[in-house]
Amino acid sequence: MAARAWSTVLMYLSPRRLQREGTTPDYRFSLANERTFLAWVRTGLALLAGGIAVDQFLTDLTPGLRVTVAVTLLVTGALCALHAVRHWVRCELAMRRDRDLPVSRVPLLLGLIAGTLGAAVAVAFVVGGVR
């Protein structure tokens, strides 16, 4: 189990290890996988920009709430970036081994976090939490 996890981590780092697995899929599918990876990276970058924007522009929020929202966005952005690589490698492996594509709870988590933050800021503007 541990050895298996370690060999997957090595595949994150070494393209040759990944290419030794299974057979090379149609390159159009690999390119689609690459675009999905880039879309996740963009999502991460947008969350980072959002966190910095909250810190810079929502100066009417109380400092505690502003820092909480900003840091949550920054950390979520970081997790998105890491998820991009993990998902990319897992999809590539699944295609090479002719298995089902991996499923994940990350989209659900992302939706919950975005929804919660949006609701929190909206409530703050309506009932207080604003200087």
């Binding site: 990944l18 149609d26 390119l31 689609a32 996988n33 880039l38 910095i52 002719d98």
Partner: protein, 117 residues
């Protein structure tokens, strides 16, 4: 065999393939990402200038270096895509592409904590 593997398991319903569009879409996805990184970098610079503290400028410098290296990567990869039939993307691109982001995140978080007004 390399590119024909999927055709053997799942026959393409279209009689003629159009491989030209896929590299182009991937090309544009790379540049969209570079653009998103540029927006982030500008925001970090704005914060540094507004706060006017050394930590903010250090973070802005890191963001700029990250953005530049990401642009360099995009240039390399899109040149590879344009060179006729693209090979399967190498994982090293994915891993190297992550470096600016993963370096940036702790720096930005630290910067945000220090520059909180």
């Amino acid at each position: 065999m390399r590119a024909g593997h999927a055709d053997a398991t799942a026959p393409d319903p279209l009689p003629v393939r159009d491989p030209a569009v896929q590299p182009e879409r991937t090309d544009m996805a790379w540049w969209r990402t570079v653009l998103a990184f540029a927006v982030l970098t500008l925001l970090v610079w704005r914060g540094a200038v507004m706060a006017g503290d050394p930590v903010g400028f250090a973070v802005a410098g890191i963001a700029t270096v990250g953005w530049a290296s990401f642009g360099w990567l995009a240039r390399r990869r899109t040149a590879e895509l344009r060179r006729g039939r693209p090979r399967p993307p190498a994982v090293r691109y994915a891993v190297v592409a992550m470096v600016p982001v993963t370096v940036l995140v702790p720096a930005v978080a630290a910067g945000a904590a220090f520059t909180t007004r």
